[in-house]
Amino acid sequence: MRETLWIALASFRETVRDKILYTLLFFVLILLAFSVLLGDWSVFAQKKVITDFSLGVMSLGGLAIAIFIGVGLVQKEIQRKTILTLLSKPVRRWQFLVGKYLGLLMVLVVNVLVMLLGLWAALAWSHNDFDPRLWLAAWGVFLEMSVITAVALLFSSFSTPVVSSLFTFATFLASHLSGSILDYIETMKRNAERIPGVQPLPEWFEPVARVVRRALPDLEMFNIRPEIVHGLPLPPWHLAWATLHAFGWVVAILAIGSWWFDRRDFL
C-alpha cells in the first residue's frame, strides 16, 4: 500500500507543477469574478445568482481538470516511457493506476478548496454571507469529479488522449442526461395516451435508455445546487447515499481499468 501512496504523491507533485492546471484554475477564478458582475445586474437575487453561477463554474472547472489532466496522467507515462522504469520496481499495476488516481484526487481537493475560496471572495465582495451549506455543494462537486476522473483514467488506460477525452465527456453528458431522457419518455408515453395525434416514441427507445441509465453513474445525484441556492431542505441521508454511490462507481471503474492494464504490453 505504501507504493500506492508514493505514486499518488508523485502524481500530485507532477500535476501541481503542470502549467495546464494553473491555466484552467485561472479561467475558473476569472469566471467566479464574473459572477459578481452577474450578481450586480440581477439586483434582487444577487446572492442566488452569484452562488448558482459559481457552483456551475466549479463543476465545469472540475470537469475540465478531470478530463485534461486525468486523461494525460497515464498516457504521458506510456508515451514518454517513464512507465518502463516505474513498473520495473516491485509495484503492482493496479497500484500504479490507483496511485495515479489518488494523486489527481488530491489535486481536485485543493482545486475545489481554491474555487470555494474564490466563491467566498465573490460573496464577500458583494457583501453577502457565506452559507455553510456551500460546503455540502462543494462536496457534491468533488464526488462528481472523483467519478469522472476515474472514467478518464479508465479510458486513458487503453486509448489515445483525444479519444479518451471525447469518451469521458460523452460519459459526463450521458450520465447527466439519462435521467432527463427517461422523464421525457414517460411524458411522451402519457401524452400519447391522452392527446390524440401525438405519436409515441419507438418501442426500442425506452429499454435502451434504461440500459444506459443503469450502465452509467447517476451524476445528477451529486448536483445539489438547486437545494443550496434556493435554501431548500436536502432529503435525509442524500449526501451519504451519494458518497456511497460515488465510492461504488469509482471502485468498479478502477477495478475494470486495473484488469485491463494488467493484461497489456508496454513496448
Binding site: T85, L86, R263
Partner: protein
C-alpha cells in the same frame, strides 16, 4: 537458483488492428540461463529481439509461449523484481522532477527510506559519477549522458542482486562509456549478477564472463565468453565477437 531462466520463449506482435490476424514473431523459442555471479552480455544487431526479451524479463511484456523466470518467479509477480535493478534503453524520466527527487521516488518504490535511502543515493551517485550539482537540476535540463548515468544510479539504489541493463552505454561519450564499464566491473566484483544488452562488442569482450547472441529473434550462440572466443581448431588463438556476429548474420 539462477537469477534468469528462459525456456522456449517466443513473442509475437500483432501488426495493428487492420492486420489483426497477422503477427510477426520477434523472438522464437529462445532458451538460456544466466547463472548467479555472471556478467552476461546480450548481443545482436538491431531488431534481433534483445529489448523484447529484456522487457519480458521485467514483466512489461507477456510471453506468447515458453517460460521466463526472474529470480525463480514469474516476472509479472512484483516479488520477482524486489532484488532486481533495471535501466531501460532510453532513460526517460519525469521532466518536472529534479535528479534528487527522482532518486528519492524510485528509492522509496524499491523499499528504501530515511537515512538508508539518503546514504544509498550518495553511494550510487558516486559509483555512477553523477555529480552532486546535477541533483538539484530539473531532469529536462539533463543531457543524454547525464540521464544514462542517473538511469544506472536509480537501478542500483536498492543494491539489487541482479542488474538488467538495456544498452547502458548508448549515447555516451568515450569517457562516459569507460565510467559505466568501470561501475559494472565494481558491481560485478561485489557479487551482483549483471545482464546487459549492447551493440558495442569490444565492451562485451572486455568485461563479460558470458554472452548470448540473438539474430532475427533466434539464439545463435550462447555460453562462457572463453568458450565462445577460443578457436578449437587453433588452440591459443582468441577470436572476436564481431567475426562470430558477422558469420551468424550471414547464415541467418
Amino acid at each position: 537458483m539462477n537469477p534468469i531462466e528462459i525456456r522456449g520463449f517466443s513473442k509475437r506482435y500483432r501488426l495493428g488492428i487492420e492486420h489483426f490476424l497477422k503477427s510477426v514473431e520477434a523472438v522464437q523459442a529462445v532458451s538460456f540461463t544466466v547463472p548467479e555471479g555472471a556478467l552476461y552480455g546480450f548481443i545482436g544487431p538491431n531488431g534481433a529481439g534483445k529489448s523484447t526479451t529484456i522487457k519480458t524479463l521485467m514483466g512489461l511484456l507477456r510471453p506468447s509461449s515458453g517460460t521466463v523466470r526472474l529470480m525463480g518467479l514469474d516476472p509479472r509477480d512484483p516479488a520477482s523484481r524486489r532484488e532486481v535493478g533495471f535501466q531501460p534503453e532510453q532513460p526517460w524520466f519525469y521532466d518536472h522532477l529534479s535528479g534528487l527527487e527522482l532518486l528519492q521516488y524510485y528509492g522509496r518504490l524499491a523499499g528504501l527510506s530515511g537515512s538508508r535511502l539518503q546514504r544509498r543515493i550518495e553511494e550510487s551517485c558516486a559509483l555512477c559519477k553523477v555529480e552532486e550539482s546535477w541533483l538539484s537540476r530539473r531532469l529536462r535540463t539533463y543531457s543524454k549522458g547525464m540521464s544514462q548515468r542517473l538511469g544506472l544510479a536509480q537501478a542500483i539504489l536498492h543494491q539489487p542482486r541482479l542488474l538488467i541493463l538495456d544498452e547502458p552505454m548508448s549515447g555516451l561519450d568515450p569517457m562516459g562509456r569507460r565510467d559505466v564499464r568501470e561501475a559494472m566491473k565494481t558491481l560485478h566484483g561485489s557479487g551482483t549478477t549483471i545482464f546487459y544488452s549492447s551493440h558495442v562488442l569490444s565492451d562485451v569482450e572486455e568485461v563479460c564472463t558470458h554472452a548470448a547472441m540473438l539474430v532475427r529473434g533466434t539464439l545463435r550462440v550462447e555460453g562462457t565468453l572463453s568458450a565462445l572466443l577460443d578457436d578449437p581448431s587453433d588452440p591459443g588463438h582468441r577470436g572476436k565477437l564481431e567475426d562470430i556476429l558477422a558469420r551468424e548474420v550471414e547464415s541467418a
